[in-house]
Amino acid sequence: MIRLEKRPQPSRAWSMATPLVAVLATMVMGGLLFATLGKNPVEAIRTIFWEPVFGEFAFYYRPQLLVKGAPLVLIAIGLSLGFRAGIWNIGAEGQYIIGALTGAGVGLAFYPMESWIIFPLMVLAGAFGGWAWAMIPAVLKTRFGTNEILVSLMLVYVAEQFLASMSLGLLKNPEGFGFPGSRNLQQYASAHNGEIIAGSGMHWGVVAALIAVIFAYILLNRHMLGYHIRLTGEAPRAAKFAGVKPARLVLFCLGTSGALAGLAGLFEVSGPSGQVSIDFNVGYGFTAIIVAFLGRLHPVGILLAGALMALTYIGGDIAQGNLGLPSAAIQVFQGMLLFFLLAFDLLTNYRIKLGTEGAL
């Protein structure tokens, strides 16, 4: 019989190794999955993990990694602060949408004026929009004790309806021949979040994501607020004893994650996507939850996890195109990654013992 025995303290080695082991296990099981679908598993895995970075068309895919990875990292960093403290913002997707709408809205309000001040104003508006949307579950939780998981999640669907209404109404391009969707911000120089170095994929969102990683790292490791966040997650009663005010922490964590998600939305709408449209959001807000956990809620881990996730997205797309793998298989593959990560995570705190010795 196999049983688990709690370690006296968390194993540092396993804590570092689990993401790698999880990726390896995902490769093995994913390979089996692809094999049963009649594809060459080695070829499929190679396409997903190798092709985007070192393949023939890598010059095209590498910038895409940054474009896909940046919003994931930016949102996941915000979420990880709350997750560390046991505050569950599941609605980053909604805050992402609202941030894009408020940011783009500010930009479009200035059209066609050109000024350097417009883009910074849009950035502020995007962050504000996401922050405000996240304040709804935060205030409801601190005032009335509602569950932030439910409220933030449901507000995603409200935000989606709002997005549809905006792209069909207020923000619709007046010169767009009646098609839904706003003006293309890529064609409006003052509002365009263009590449900082041509061909690199590096836009302001990537810069913001890197800054967020550094700030989160300093906050969690060097600042009292970060210590209180960790303490609240590990032992809520001890946190209260230490003098942490839970309500203040809820407002901070939800607000910060909302603002970062709003920023991600703004950088996306003013850059790679270019316009507000009905199907503008593609699930970054939800995938970022996986990225946050895959990165073990650690800023540097999230940076790596965001890169890995972007890789499976792009590699998955290539595999769909080149090998004819169904998109559902790619989603299963991504799901496996989270599953194995959480499963192997157990080994950080427990060790496996064989035999029935001493079992109850």
């Binding site: 968390p10 060097r222 009292m224 607020l225 210590y227 590990e234 230490a242 003098g243 109850l360």
Partner: protein, 506 residues
């Protein structure tokens, strides 16, 4: 005693990773004998009785029950062989009534009405009156213990194991329990009585086996052995009694008046019109059975629960509205009972745990940025000054034994030079030597001019160190009285007497 042996234990050994819990333990329990198992926390008493009760399998050794080999695979097998056990921590559902709780533990429970009749019958026979239809959540600790005892007695056991049964009882309730146990003994039931309270063992038990660090270090007849000799067998060294010294009382440091706080949860305790004052240099002992408002009183003093401004005063200034951080800045420090999860974060290192309460007074932060170097130095200072056994301050709090973590938690507050220190159960689960050093630290603190409040369920501890004594009973605090003038009976009455329990006269 010349009674025939009921249970013989020979060479029982059980090792856990890193520790040998029992090392070739042997003893014999006679029929109708009350046998004491004496030892400090961590001496291996619990492991031993778990093996007898079938919860843990021994690595080696033999048990013989009434002449036949006895190897229980699980508690059910042990119960079938007539062995019953009352645990220190009750396994009862608050929301169900007594009869329902007892039915849940039975293999084939009879209809509730028949069961209730049997509960009444057994409870009256053994002097343990109990209404089978009362909700367990409303019962006192002593009454809950009765539920557990009656649950055992319904099985008609040959051997009843009782794990620290008096830790939740007032002195009066202890007397009632002892009468019941003596009656059981007179009917031929053997009792294995686990405790570290020597006077109880001397009053009740026929034989005692003393365990130290998993080894059987001696046997004695308690009635013929002095408590001091037994204590020294148990601890292994001569005991040092803390020095009280002579102290002068100064001004009133902490003043609580007319404090009422509603219960934090359905089965919590509301504090009702609590008054207390403690002067500099004074140690106020607060006794009482667990669950009578101890946690609630501590959280009002720590600032985790705030109240009316004037209900709590420090040096005459109102602090009732202040949170924990503001109170620490003034010098009002506390150490809660629950070490893991309340006083310390289990998965955080000792350094991080030193920061938990030390940041304000030890200056461990500047503009919100943490000084890890200073924090680590503070943690090392605690470890050294309070002899905390750990490889270093980077180890997680949960890797420490309970006693060592307790030393760390108390040391963390004591070293911050408190003006007022409130501790709850400061020596719970701590070995005798460490307990003595913690008590000494509290006495030294008072001698240095701090006001100390010691909330404890260990009456001996309170008698030893406190100048004045008050008791909590259902959220009310009795008026403090000088400890030296009190008798055990008076203390028991302050704690609520027998909580409305009485002995059925048989």
């Amino acid at each position: 005693m010349s009674t025939p042996p009921l249970l013989t234990i020979e060479g029982l050994t059980k090792a856990y990773p890193g520790v040998v819990a029992n090392d070739h333990v042997s003893f014999t329990i006679g029929t109708g004998e009350v046998h004491a198992l004496l030892g400090e926390n961590g001496a291996g008493k619990s492991t031993l009785v778990k093996m007898i009760y079938g919860l843990v399998k021994p690595d080696s050794g033999r048990m013989t029950l009434r002449g036949a080999p006895y190897e229980p695979a699980e508690p059910r097998a042990a119960r079938a062989d007539g062995i019953a056990m009352v645990f220190q921590h009750f396994s009862l559902f608050d929301a169900l009534n007594v009869a329902e709780n007892i039915a849940l533990g039975m293999e084939n429970p009879p209809p509730l009405r028949d069961l209730a009749a049997r509960i009444r019958e057994v409870s009256e026979t053994y002097g343990l009156p109990l209404d089978p239809f009362r909700t367990v959540g409303d019962l006192s600790a002593g009454e809950r213990q009765r539920v557990e005892i009656i649950r055992c007695l319904l099985q008609d056991p040959k051997l009843l194991i009782m794990d620290e049964p008096t830790s939740v009882l007032t002195p009066q309730e202890v007397q009632i329990l002892f009468q019941t146990l003596r009656k059981l003994k007179s009917e031929g039931t053997s009792i294995l009585y686990i405790s570290h309270k020597l006077e109880e063992i001397r009053a009740l038990c026929d034989h005692a086996t003393i365990l130290r660090l998993g080894k059987n270090v001696g046997e004695c007849i308690p009635a013929e052995t002095s408590a001091r000799d037994m204590a020294e067998l148990m601890v292994g060294t001569a005991l040092k009694t803390p020095e009280r010294g002579v102290r002068e009382f100064g001004d009133v440091a902490l003043d609580i008046s007319g404090l009422s706080v509603p219960a934090p949860s359905a089965f919590g305790t509301a504090l009702k019109n609590v008054h207390l004052t403690v002067r500099r240099g004074e140690i106020l002992g607060i006794g009482g059975v667990a669950g009578n408002g101890q946690d609630e009183l501590l959280s009002v003093m720590s600032g985790e629960v705030t109240c009316a401004r004037d209900a709590v005063k420090f040096d005459g200034a109102p602090i009732g509205h202040m949170g924990p951080t503001a109170r620490r800045a003034l010098g009002v420090l506390t150490a809660p009972e629950e070490r893991l999860g309340h006083a310390a974060a289990p998965d955080m290192s000792l350094t991080e745990n030193a920061l938990l309460t030390g940041s304000v007074r030890e200056g461990l932060e500047r503009n919100g940025f943490l000084k890890w170097g200073a924090t680590r130095a503070f943690a090392e200072k605690i470890i050294q000054a309070f002899d905390v056994r750990t490889p270093g301050p980077d180890n997680a709090a949960r890797s420490l034994s309970g006693g060592n973590l307790q030393k760390f938690v108390i040391g963390r507050e004591v070293l911050q030079r408190p003006e007022v220190l409130v501790v709850n159960q400061p020596t719970w689960g701590v070995d005798a030597a460490a307990a003595a050093s913690i008590r000494q630290a509290l006495l030294d603190l008072a001698a240095g001019g701090a006001a100390v409040i010691c909330i404890s369920q260990d009456l001996d501890e309170l008698m030893e160190i406190s100048d004045n004594f008050a008791a909590l009973n259902e959220g009310r605090l009795s008026a403090p009285r000088p400890t030296a003038e009190l008798t055990v009976d008076e203390i028991g009455l302050m704690m609520g007497g027998a909580h409305g329990m009485e002995v059925a006269h048989v």
